[in-house]
């Protein structure tokens, strides 16, 4: 779903401050622009908001509502004229506290959830902790939405209720996964494991060959990823033969030649061609 603000300028009140917004713009975006902090976990600029994590709940009301108010997810709620928003009122804090309490029951071992819960004064969950602790996933679905945005859409939630989790089809290695690891990069609880070893990357139980520089052997992305995005961007495979450092050396050699200078670049008997440089601070494998 893509959401375009319709453009009419309205005035809304957030935490007592009058803020200008366009109708249809989402509350979270308006608040962030005004420098008002609303916590949000499953929100990422690259993808449309989904309202999954519920952390961005805020209380809204209007003067004409006779004192009635309700909680809505700020990431998904379109602004309208005369809206009054409270981002840290008692019902909002209570709702967020319950959320953290529930997450702590689900993922007691997650450092991220522990820290988040501690911010709301919860050291130990008041719910029955999971009998068999699940993984550290809070099912916010950000990985799924990012994967869909990039194109492969390789992962999705499987099962329902307490057994719901993020996985490939039939809980096996996802056939469409290209191993780009963007899901792991955006995961708020860092619960998606990526292992890199001997020129391979393993993610979602699927092993990928990493693309190695034909000159120096450095690796950064998987071969599948290079092929997939290269095809999408219309780039030939000749783009990926060398790593960025070797390509820079090549660029320098060509630039020197074009400049009509008789001297050669690099090649002082050191493999890197960068004699002053201490290697090692720019590494690719994690």
């Amino acid at each position: 779903m893509s959401h375009e603000p319709s453009g009419r300028v309205v005035k809304i009140e957030i935490d007592g401050r009058v803020v200008e917004a366009r109708t249809g713009e989402f509350l979270l975006a308006v608040a962030r622009r005004a420098g008002i902090d609303i916590p949000a976990i499953c929100q990422h600029e690259a993808v449309d908001p989904a309202g999954n994590c519920r952390m961005c709940l805020v209380e809204i009301t209007k003067a004409s509502w006779d004192g009635w108010s309700r909680l809505v997810t700020a990431c998904l709620y379109p602004t309208e004229q005369d809206l009054i928003v409270k981002t840290h009122s008692a019902p909002v804090i209570e709702a967020r506290t319950v959320l953290c309490d529930l997450w702590l029951a689900r993922c007691p071992d997650s450092a991220y959830v522990q820290k988040l819960a501690a911010e709301f004064g919860i050291e130990k969950t008041s719910y029955q902790p999971a009998a068999v602790p699940t993984d550290q996933c809070i099912l916010c679905g950000l990985c799924i939405r990012v994967c869909e945005k990039l194109g492969p859409a390789a992962i999705y939630t499987v099962n329902r209720g307490g057994r719901k989790k993020v996985a490939g089809p039939f809980e096996g290695p996802p056939p469409d996964c290209i191993g780009c690891a963007a899901c792991a990069e955006v995961c708020p609880t860092s619960c998606i494991t990526v292992a890199e070893r001997d020129g391979t990357r393993t993610i979602w139980d699927k092993e990928f060959q990493l693309l190695a520089c034909t000159t120096c052997g450095r690796t950064l992305v998987t071969i599948e990823e290079a092929r997939y995005f290269g095809r999408k961007g219309g780039l030939g495979e000749s783009y990926y033969q060398l790593c960025d450092r070797c390509k820079r050396l090549q660029t320098a050699q060509q630039a020197t030649k074009v400049a009509g200078l008789p001297l050669t670049v690099g090649g002082l008997g050191e493999a890197s061609g960068r004699p002053f440089r201490s290697p090692g601070s720019l590494t690719t494998s994690r």
Partner: protein, 181 residues
């Protein structure tokens, strides 16, 4: 249309690496040339190379004048390589989330790290090697002309790197790489 242009004059580079240091300090707050968005490839003359077993040792052995190390221009020189801000850029073509956008003021392609999902595909997509992965920051890194105040050009003592009004730079001469359109 940007009114300033980044000009590289390869013949004037003395490989002093001040641009790399200025870039790294400005962009990653660390005095580490390896994390700079610009790279200098030393280009010593054959005679100079023949006379020195290792470039670094030879460079340290150079006479220090006025308290500052200054390799002679015709002996020690380098080739700077930095982002060319291509019109039809490979990095922009492969980015699926729109994190790479051209700035209307400087003409440089800038990274919006809030949009970036760190798939790192833009790194192999650059045919010149000017998109890099900065492991300490866990971000991709490229030259964005410091949003209109390129620190490398300010730091360059020889005029190899310049940031000039487009009107003053009539035509890119041969041997001149241009960025920022």
């Amino acid at each position: 249309m940007p009114d300033m242009i980044f000009v590289v004059d390869v013949a004037r580079c003395s490989a002093c690496q001040k641009c790399e240091i200025a870039c790294a300090v400005h962009n990653v707050k660390e005095m580490n040339a390896a994390r700079a968005r610009i790279a200098i490839f030393p280009r010593p003359s054959p005679e100079f190379r023949a006379g020195s077993a290792r470039w670094g040792e030879a460079r340290r052995a150079l006479p220090v004048e006025g308290g500052r190390e200054s390799p002679p221009l015709n002996e020690a020189s380098g080739t700077p390589v930095t982002c060319l801000q291509c019109d039809d850029a490979g990095c922009v073509r492969v980015c699926q989330v729109g994190a790479l956008q051209r700035s209307p003021t400087t003409g440089a392609i800038e990274i919006d790290h809030a949009h970036c999902v760190r798939c790192k595909m833009c790194v192999p997509a650059c045919p010149f090697g000017n998109m890099t992965w900065d492991e300490p920051l866990r971000q991709v890194a490229k030259c964005d002309l410091c949003h209109g105040m390129p620190q490398c050009a300010l730091a360059c003592p020889t005029g190899a790197l310049k940031y000039r009004p487009v009107s003053e730079v009539a035509m890119p001469a041969i041997g001149t790489a241009c960025g920022g359109r």
